[in-house]
């Protein structure tokens, strides 16, 4: 119940941080990282994993909630995992972050034009259609995706999937 949560706690929970961990591309690393978060009670909002330019190294982009002290502990605890090579916090440095969503939305012929306009405005694409549905692809920051989903909600969202945020520092800096 919201009444049990103080505003200070809420403010803390609402602090979001995007961190990137470069890890050895070994089986089991994901289990170590997610196990760490579960065990220590850290709150993952999203997690995206993929290989990098170096096939021996994977990159995890993790969005977590918590204040800076929690974030500091998370960073240090991640570092303790033997297979974690580097941890970067993107909260306080210029970085771009993006997320991709696929949205299957009800698309009755009479609504199609409206939907296509929304897709247009948000620079999305329609990548599949049937007589009753569209699949729409949108990329952007999380808030933009929230907004698109909200607008399309009016037509009935059948299915929605988001990749979770991935991030990269601006300029020549690398993780």
């Amino acid at each position: 119940m919201a009444t049990n949560i103080s505003t200070a706690m809420l403010a803390q929970l609402q602090q979001r941080h995007t961190i990137t961990a470069l890890v050895e591309n070994h089986p089991g690393v994901l289990a170590r990282v997610s196990g760490l978060f579960a065990r220590r009670g850290y709150n993952i909002e999203s997690l995206a994993v993929s290989v990098t330019e170096n096939p021996d190294i994977s990159r995890m982009t993790i969005v977590v909630g918590g204040d800076h002290l929690v974030l500091e502990q998370i960073t240090k605890q991640l570092h303790k995992l033997i297979e974690v090579i580097k941890v970067v916090d993107y909260t306080e440095q210029p970085a771009v972050d993006r997320e991709l969503a696929l949205i299957k939305v009800g698309a009755e012929p009479r609504h199609r034009n409206e939907i296509m306009q929304i897709v247009e405005i948000f620079r999305g694409r329609i990548i599949d259609m049937s007589d009753k549905t569209f699949i729409i692809e949108v990329t952007g920051g999380s808030e933009k995706l929230d907004k698109v989903a909200e607008l399309l909600g009016a037509y009935g969202i059948k299915e929605l999937v988001r990749t979770g945020i991935i991030a990269m520092a601006r300029g020549p800096r690398t993780a």
């Binding site: 289990a31 500091e72 502990q73 570092h79 297979e83 090579i85």
Partner: protein, 596 residues
């Protein structure tokens, strides 16, 4: 040279300097046991339960500082070791646990005795490996030992499938390198110069400093540096349960253990200090109680090799990440001598007000037995303990002279740890006197290892502090659950003397204080087998001082009869009442405030 995985394993262990492996066989490790059959350089100790193997490796590691090694089969063998691995993990003990695994081809198919050992042990290991190819074995073993012993030490599991042990590969043993480089793992051992100078400055400025020393000082082997620091600055030193012996506890600068069952004077000192120097200690809740009231007026210096420990529980003013030994060596370059202070006198006054005492009323008490063990062995015996009241009495009354002399499960508090740990210790040091102080509850958790001690002719002495009760739990029921002693009664227990004899050990019983010395003498004379002494003490005894969990020094409970006990001991000095204590404190605070 063509060698099987099993042979490679033993060769690598040998190159790591391993002389003892504690283990238990089974299907998945048959090739390893076959290789052990004619291995002369590594002695395998056959235990009676895999938990015992892990505790033995742990005890061996705590006594020597070397990496302890244990071995089990897959499935139930591996799960039986988990308690022992977790025990080592919580106390940062270097250990390599090797578990057999089913063939790689059937992993994930619920094969016979398959258990996901790396999955199960993930939260209780520093790191773990599942070896998929024999060719990886030498690298994995080198990395496992390296990770276990460096940085913040800890247990590492190597899960070894049957076919990996069987397969033969071309391998040159000379190619084995002990000190590997793992780019993603490079612990920081040297403290930051600037931080060290700041610490020295803080020490120079402090009026009421205290040293709070933990297991990190033991791991670093920094007893000498720590003692030097304490002596040069005249800063009195309290240790955690796991830091015991970091300073000789008979040294005048030692004020014993702090925390829940620590000495009243150590706790008062920490509560009133203006500088707390935490050396390889992790602000455990048994130590801090209510965290925001712990050392409330103190600036905090925190030395720890694990960056994640800094700020985990308290935010230090001067964090120093590094190895205790190296950091103290650097710190000593900057620290100037300080004279004995009135603050120290104050702590000594607290010590006089609240000494550790127990009655001398003709009954047999654990405290007395512990003191007599100390006296009979010139305080040189290595003591292991189990978990409970007896453990706390041992922490209070066994005056440890050096590190690695007091061996106990702190973080996990594993009942059943004591005897197997003693076996590990005795294996490492056959000529030392090793005493396991146990409880009647704890002893029954790993009794079977008495057979191990017996078969190997190990002269460990197991003193069972027999209160016919799960004393520590009973104490909480006594204090917080209206004396409703739910399921803590152990009246129904075996006859420990006959039980000992059944295992081929010597069994003795003592129930009168007058008999203790002679019984100990007889036990110490036995050098070819274990001795079990059933020490019958009253059930009702509680451990004091006691700060209930999550509370502060203000809630510290002291023996009700302390005044009478003191009157007997200090016949020549004034007798203080509790009201006096408040007066003394008030006066003290006044003088301190005046001086500021």
């Amino acid at each position: 040279m063509k060698m099987s995985g099993a042979k490679i394993l033993l060769e690598c262990l040998r190159r790591e300097g391993v002389q003892h492996v504690f283990g238990y066989p089974g299907g998945a490790v048959l090739p390893i046991y076959d290789a052990l059959y004619d291995c002369t350089e590594i002695e395998h100790v056959l235990v009676r339960h895999e938990q015992g193997a892990a505790h033995m490796a742990d005890g061996y590691a705590r006594a020597t500082g070397k990496v302890g090694v244990c071995l089990s089969t897959s499935g139930p063998g591996a799960t039986n070791m988990v308690t022992g691995i977790a025990t080592a993990y919580m106390d940062s003990i270097p250990m390599v646990a090797i578990t057999g695994q089913v063939r790689t081809s059937v992993i994930g198919k619920d094969a016979f005795q398959e258990v996901d050992a790396t999955g199960v042990t993930l939260p209780v290991t520093k790191h773990n490996f599942l070896v998929k190819r024999t060719a990886d074995l030498p690298r994995v073993i080198a990395e496992a030992f390296y990770i276990a012993r460096t940085g913040r030490p800890g247990p590492v599991v190597i899960d070894l499938p049957l076919d990996v042990s069987i397969d033969q590969i071309e391998w040159d043993p000379e190619s084995y390198t002990q000190n590997v480089d793992i780019p993603s793992y490079r612990p920081n051992t040297r403290g930051h110069e600037l931080q060290i100078k700041k610490a020295a400055q803080a020490i120079a400025e402090a009026q009421r400093p205290v040293l709070y020393v933990g297991g990190g000082c033991v791991a670093a082997g920094a007893q000498m540096e720590l003692t030097e620091l304490s002596e040069r600055t005249n800063i009195l030193t309290t240790t955690t349960l796991l830091g015991k012996g970091s300073i000789d506890e008979t040294h005048r600068n030692s004020i014993g253990m702090l925390g829940m069952h620590g000495t009243a004077y150590a706790n008062h000192a920490v509560n009133n200090c203006d500088l707390l120097i935490a050396v390889g200690a992790r602000f455990d809740d048994r130590v801090t109680g209510k965290v925001d009231r712990f050392a409330p007026n103190a600036k905090i210096i925190h030395i720890d090799i694990d960056p994640a420990e800094i700020g985990k529980v308290v935010q230090p003013d001067i964090p120093i990440v590094g190895d205790v030994k190296l950091v103290l060596q650097d710190l000593l370059k900057h620290v100037k001598p300080r004279p004995w202070s009135s603050w120290n006198d104050q702590i000594m006054e607290w010590k006089r007000l609240f000494p550790l005492l127990y009655p001398d009323d003709g009954k047999l008490y654990a405290e007395y037995i512990i003191e007599k063990i100390g006296e009979a062995t010139d305080w040189k015996a290595i003591m292991t303990t189990d978990v409970g009241q007896h453990q706390m009495w041992a922490a209070q009354y066994y005056k440890t002279r050096r590190t690695r002399q007091f061996i106990t499960s702190g973080g996990l508090g594993t009942m059943g740890y004591g005897m197997p740990a003693a076996i590990g210790v005795q294996k490492a040091f056959p000529d030392e006197t090793v005493v396991c102080l146990s409880g009647d509850g704890s002893f029954q958790m790993c009794t079977q290892e008495l057979m191990t001690a017996s078969v190997y002719g190990l002269p460990i002495i197991v003193a069972i502090i027999n209160n016919r009760s799960l004393g520590m739990v009973r104490q909480w029921q006594h204090m917080f659950y209206s004396q409703r002693y739910s399921h803590t009664n152990l009246e129904a227990s075996p006859d420990y003397v006959r039980l000992a004899e059944a295992y081929g050990a010597v069994g003795m019983r003592v129930a009168q204080p007058g008999e203790v010395v002679s019984v100990l003498e007889r036990a110490l004379a036995v050098r070819d087998r274990p001795t079990v002494i059933d020490c019958v003490i009253p059930t009702e005894e509680n451990v004091y001082p006691f700060i209930p969990s999550g509370q502060t020094v203000e809630q510290m409970m002291i023996r009700k009869d302390l005044e009478q006990l003191k009157a007997k001991v200090h016949t020549d000095s004034e007798v203080w009442s509790f009201a006096d204590e408040e007066r003394v404190l008030e006066q003290y605070v006044e003088t301190v405030e005046k001086n500021q």
